[in-house]
């Protein structure tokens, strides 16, 4: 986060370059076997990470002043007997030390039972099943828009550094990077929903209607997707711009220019190939920031996704729901890191996946 060139990938030393013998023979196809081994190694490395993450959650919860049992029964608990409370504690798996609770939770989680949400009063798996689709739709669309628009703007800006276009694009990127997504979301609501009245201010359906039609979904989707995409845009723009700028000074590009190849071919054929490599890494490693953005954007627009459920669970200290959603986020981040490595291994023949 401190530096656009420091990625969130698990490998942070420069990825080793393939031994000369390998490249010397000339690799014909993608190194599928090596990539599969890489995926296997990453999956194994995910086990201790997830263990520590879940254990950490239970440790924090154990130090918390909130009692899940009291919270679950609320004011009904005032007249409840100790017996009832104990049975409930047993059922909520909230007895014993935090390590015992963690073990019980892990065992039932592996069988597909993530417990009961304390606030929504339904199984956590049900909550996730209802909401996962909406979150994926929102994040997926925003990500695609951000990626295409960001790389295009970045390439255009890098073509003529210092030009009016470059200055506009770069300044706008810095501005958007500094602006909190929730603030952008509120300003967008003010402009598009209240002043212009062209788009709804939030939710999934119009008031007084329960059915989700394609038309109304599209209208309700536009603002959240646009805000999330815009908040992710600066990274794609700045990475692409820097990558292509660097690539324009590399030997292949200078060689191509010296041979008199026209600028368009140089840019699209030579500079983009290596200039877009950092962007490729970004595709996987942006997952944490995408989740962060979704937490804020879904809340502002009352989007019925997993991120808004996370915030609701947090405000109510609903541990079972919050824990499950945190683990899902961690899984998504690890999958994103793997994707980044795989894409890199596929795209850059100089990298040996067995060394990553």
């Amino acid at each position: 986060m401190a530096d656009p060139f420091v990625t969130h990938g698990t490998t942070e030393a420069p990825a080793p370059v393939a031994a000369p013998g390998r490249t010397g023979r000339g690799r014909t196809g993608p190194p599928l076997a090596a990539l599969a081994r890489l995926a296997g190694r990453r999956a194994l490395a995910a086990v201790p990470v997830l263990t520590v993450v879940t254990l950490g959650m239970f440790a924090v919860a154990a130090a918390s002043p909130f009692d899940p049992v009291r919270q679950y029964i609320g004011s009904d608990g005032l007249g409840a007997s100790q017996d009832t409370l104990d049975t409930l504690r047993e059922r909520l798996a909230a007895s014993g030390t935090f390590a015992e609770q963690w073990w019980a939770w892990l065992r039932s989680a592996l069988t597909g039972d993530l417990g009961q949400s304390l606030t929504l009063r339904q199984p956590v798996t049900e909550v996730i099943a209802e909401r996962a689709g909406w979150s994926l739709l929102l994040c997926g669309l925003a990500f695609l828009i951000s990626l295409t628009l960001g790389t295009t703007l970045g390439v255009l800006a890098a073509r003529r550094p210092g030009s009016v276009l470059d200055r506009c694009v770069s300044s706008l990127s810095y501005l958007l990077q500094a602006a909190p997504p929730f603030w952008l979301a509120l300003l967008a609501i003010w402009l598009f929903a209240l002043q212009l009245g062209v788009l709804p201010a939030g939710g999934l359906t119009d008031t007084g209607s329960d059915t989700v039609t394609a038309g109304s979904l599209l209208r309700h989707l536009t603002l959240p997707v646009a805000v999330l995409a815009v908040s992710q845009l600066p990274w794609f723009v700045l990475y692409t711009r820097q990558g292509v700028l660097d690539a324009l000074h590399e030997d292949p590009v200078r060689g191509a220019r010296a041979r008199g190849i026209d600028e368009r071919t140089v840019l699209l054929g030579h500079a983009l190939r290596s200039g877009l490599l950092p962007v490729l890494t970004l595709i996987g490693t942006r997952v944490p920031e995408l989740i962060t953005g979704a937490l804020l954007v879904e809340t502002v627009f009352s989007w019925p996704g997993m991120a808004s459920a996370t915030v609701r669970a947090a405000t109510a200290a609903d541990f079972p729901l919050l824990a499950a959603l945190t683990v899902i986020s961690a899984l998504a981040v690890l999958a994103g890191n793997l994707l980044a490595d795989l894409l890199y291994g596929l795209a850059d023949p100089r990298v040996d996946p067995d060394q990553m």
Binding site: D3, E12, V60, Y174, D251, T315, A317, A330
Partner: protein, 296 residues
């Protein structure tokens, strides 16, 4: 850094724009410095300069549009938004700087230990780094704050304890690259003690990078604080913080009053850009090969 490309700028020709745009850059650095100084002074001195009560409710003056009396207007309880924003900035800066300090000191110690000791310590630290990057920081912050009651200290703890990772990485990489330099070998074979090598060679080389990371951490920490407060999980609602102000303005936004939302947000954006501008200039000084980019 996962990039395997040789950095062509290392020995390539100097880019022309580096010279042509020096003037613009100087202007940018001075503007950033002025804005950052103004924000810091305002936040420091506001209790002295404006001994007005920022909590004073005046229901006859609620939701007034910006005017000469109230340059940024008033909120739904008739409180002056300029005054409250400066107070909010004060809280945000306090939280941001403290959290950035906590994160940077942690990162410096952990990163230096990993880089200098190597071996098992290094592997352990890198696994911890993997774990802390696996959960998005805002989510980890939300989790920590949710399990405790909202307040300034849980926010500082949640930001500080989650953000040491980037500093630790930078410091570790710097120490590792230093360890392989000939002049360190020369010092060691010349009989210098470990402590002397650390004090004379490692610390002076690592501190600028760590300091830069710490400065860049401040806007980041402010961003996190305001996001947590906006979600209702940070600073309690009655206290003026930029995040709680924007959260509190959501009702009046829906009736069309834009100023209670717009201005506190600008108090996040402008100091962030100012600090980023200064940090960028600093980075160009200590690492002139790479043009600076923001930041968060």
């Amino acid at each position: 850094m996962t990039s395997t490309r040789p950095r062509p700028t290392d020995n390539g020709p100097r880019r022309p724009r580096d010279t042509t745009r020096r003037g613009t850059r100087t202007v940018r650095v001075w503007t950033s410095a002025a804005l950052a100084a103004a924000a810091a002074l305002a936040a420091l001195l506001v209790p002295l300069l404006a001994p007005l009560d920022q909590q004073a409710v005046d229901l006859t003056a609620k939701l007034l549009a910006p005017s000469a009396d109230h340059p940024f207007g008033t909120d739904e309880l008739g409180r002056d938004i300029l005054l409250r924003s400066v107070h909010g900035l004060r809280v945000s800066l306090l939280v941001g700087i403290t959290a950035a300090l906590v994160a940077s000191v942690l990162g410096l110690l952990i990163g230096a230990a990993a880089g200098a000791l190597g071996g098992r310590t290094d592997r352990l630290v890198m696994r911890a780094v993997d774990t802390f990057t696996a959960v998005p920081h805002l989510l980890m912050g939300i989790f920590i704050v949710a399990m405790f009651r909202p307040g300034i200290w849980p926010v500082i703890a949640s930001v500080g304890l989650t953000h040491w990772v980037s500093t630790a990485r930078i410091v570790r990489a710097e120490v590792l690259s230093l360890r392989s330099r000939p002049y360190i070998d020369a010092a060691v074979s010349g009989g210098a003690s470990r402590l002397r090598v650390a004090r004379r060679h490692l610390v002076p080389a690592v501190l600028p990078q760590a300091g830069l990371a710490a400065v860049l951490m401040v806007p980041h920490a402010i961003w996190h604080e305001s996001a947590l407060s906006f979600l209702g999980l940070g600073i309690p609602a009655h206290q003026a913080s930029l995040g709680t102000m924007i959260n509190g303005a959501r009702g009046s936004l829906l009736t069309g009053e834009w100023w209670p939302t717009l201005f506190p947000g600008l108090f996040i954006v402008v100091p962030t850009l100012a600090i980023a501008g200064l940090a960028g200039a600093w980075r160009e000084r200590i690492n002139p090969r790479r043009r600076s980019e923001l930041v968060l």
